[in-house]
């Protein structure tokens, strides 16, 4: 029997730093990351949200994601080394 990891153990709604993201009527839990970037000589913020990949199957570029009351636009994702965690790139 294949081993299946339980993503909720990694992104529990009550865990420190975990935020709720609403996408397509459902709620996904993960970490909102806001990183300093310097693009073309102007500072900015790179916005990403990492969560359990299985929870965002079907998300499409251009979809709206609401996190902590702020609306973002989903622009892409890549998977972590274990393929279990997805890092979503978001546009403000």
């Amino acid at each position: 029997m294949a081993f299946v990891e339980d993503g909720s153990l990694f992104y529990g709604p009550n865990d420190p730093g975990v935020s709720a993201a609403t996408w397509n009527g459902s709620t996904v839990y993960g970490h909102l990351n806001r990183a300093y970037v310097d693009e073309f000589g102007a500072e900015g913020t790179g916005i990403a949200f990492d969560c359990w990949a299985a929870n965002i199957v079907g998300i499409a570029h251009g979809d709206t994601v609401v996190i902590d009351g702020t609306t973002y636009v989903y622009r892409g994702r890549f998977l972590g080394s274990d393929d279990a965690v997805a890092i979503m790139k978001l546009q403000a």
Binding site: V37, E39, F40, G41, A42, K89, Q91, A92
Partner: protein, 149 residues
Amino acid sequence: MANHLRRQIREGLTTAITGLSTTGARVFTSRVYPLEVSDLPGLLVTSQSEIVDADSYGVPRPLQRRLRLEVRAIAQAAADLDDTLDQICKEVEIALAMPCAALAGLCKSITLLGTDIGMSDGAEQPRGSAAMAFEVYYVAAENAPDVAL
């Protein structure tokens, strides 16, 4: 003694492109540290290089100088970023077209050599840059780099 002509030209160019419709007063000269998001859309002015020719004899010799200046437009927009950059370039090119009053008496000509355009998704919204390279041709005596001939 006045400032080096290179500085006078850079400052004159900055004056000429300050107050344009899209970038307004957000014009920065020789900026080392990054701009803030509130500074966008904005313009960065930097001296890049200069080629000097001494094509005559005598003392002092007149030096023909070709100063390369970069005017970099930086903008951030959720949509139509390329349109914004092109609009900024249009305004800058018109402002610097000869005869440019802010450069009168300082140089013989200013010529747009080319524009490098780039866009990125690294910031909170799409970010783009249009780096316009201008060549400013001016002449000064070798012992008086602050006085245009």
